[in-house]
Symmetry: C2
Subunit: 217 residues, 2 copies
Amino acid sequence: MAPTITAFERSPDRGKGLARDMRVRWAFEEAGQPYDVRLVSFEQMRAPAYRALHPFGQIPTFEEGGLTLFESGSIVLHIAERHPGLLPDDANARARAISWIFAALDTVEPPIVDRSMATIVERDKPWYEARLPMLDDRVRKRLGQLSTRLGDTDWLDGAFSAGDLMMVTVLRRLNGSGLLEEHPNLAAYVARGEARPAFKRAFEAQLVVFTGGPSSV
Amino acid sequence: MAPTITAFERSPDRGKGLARDMRVRWAFEEAGQPYDVRLVSFEQMRAPAYRALHPFGQIPTFEEGGLTLFESGSIVLHIAERHPGLLPDDANARARAISWIFAALDTVEPPIVDRSMATIVERDKPWYEARLPMLDDRVRKRLGQLSTRLGDTDWLDGAFSAGDLMMVTVLRRLNGSGLLEEHPNLAAYVARGEARPAFKRAFEAQLVVFTGGPSSV
C-alpha cells in the first residue's frame, strides 16, 4: 500500500503549489514512488484525531503502515533516504545535501515566511509600511548569500538533490514579491527546478485539488 | 583526529548556552565523542574564507577530514546517525525522532527567534509595545500544542533522543521571557534536559569561552 500524505482541502495559495505538501509530492515524484493524498479541512486539522498525527495541526503528515511522520523536512528526508534519486551515494556528499535541506528550512525560509505572514496578517496595522523594508532586507541578506554560493552552477552541491528540492520550494514562496528577480542566478535556479518533469507532475497533482478536476493521484 | 566545530569568540548571550554551538556540543557529549572548537569573531565570520565553510556566515560549522557541514540541525543529525545514544535503533522510532528535530527547528523555533529578535532590534521602534503581545501569542500557540503532546511523559517519544536535545535547546531560548513557565510540564522538560550530565559538560565547555577559563575542551 502506498503511503498517504495530507494536504489542504482548500489551499490558501489557490493552486500555486506553495503549501508544504508540494515538497513531499515532488520528492515522491523524483523517487518514482506512488502516494495517496487525504485532503483535510482547517476544522479537521484542529480536531484531536488530527493532532494525534500532527501535534501542531499542520500539513503535511505522512502515514505508512504503523509509521506516522510530520514536518515536511522530515518526510522529504525519509523518502530521500529510502529511494534513489534524491541523495548522492557518497556519504560525505549525502551529508552535505542534508545540510542544504536544513539550510533551506532553518536559515532561508524563516525570513521569507515572516515577510509573507506580515503581508497577510499585518497589512492593516499602522506599522506595516514602515516595517516592510526591514523584512525585505532580511530576505535580501539570505538571497545575496545564497546567490553568491550558487554562482553559475546548476545546483547547490553537484547533482540535483533533496537539498535543491527543498531550497526551490522555499524560494518559490517569494512568488510575486519581486525579491527573487534581484538575483538572476536564483531566478534561473528556481526555473530549473520547476522545469523538472517530477516537479511538473507534482504541481499538476496539487493544482487539480484546487481546480476540482479528477482527484486521484 | 576529532572533528572541529566553530563557535562565537564572544557569545552575545554571555555564556548562557543559547547559541547554536551548544546543541552540537551537547550531542557530542551524549555520544561520548571528543571534539575541538575553533572560536571565530564576527569579522572572521564575514570573511570569504569562512563563507566557504558556511555560506550564510553563521556558527556552528563542522569539519572532519574532507567533510564540512553547516546548520546545527544537520550537524546534530550527522552525529546522531553515526554514534549510539541519540537515536532509537528501531527504524520507525528513529524516523519519528528525526521528525522532532525538524519540528523543533521549523515549527517551534521560528516564533521564538522572532520574538527575541524583536526584543533586541525593534525595542526602540514605535510599534514595539503594540506588536509584542502578538509575538508572545505566536510563541504561546506552539508551546500550548507542545505541552498537550508532551503531557506527563519525560520525553517527546519514548527515550531521550536528538529530537529532545533539539527541542530543549530551542525552548531554552525563552529564558527570561516568562512564557515557558506558563506550562509547568514544559519547564520540567527543559529542566530534565539540563540535568543530564552530557548537557552539563557541554554547558561548562561553552561557559569557559565566556569566563575566560582554560579553553581546551
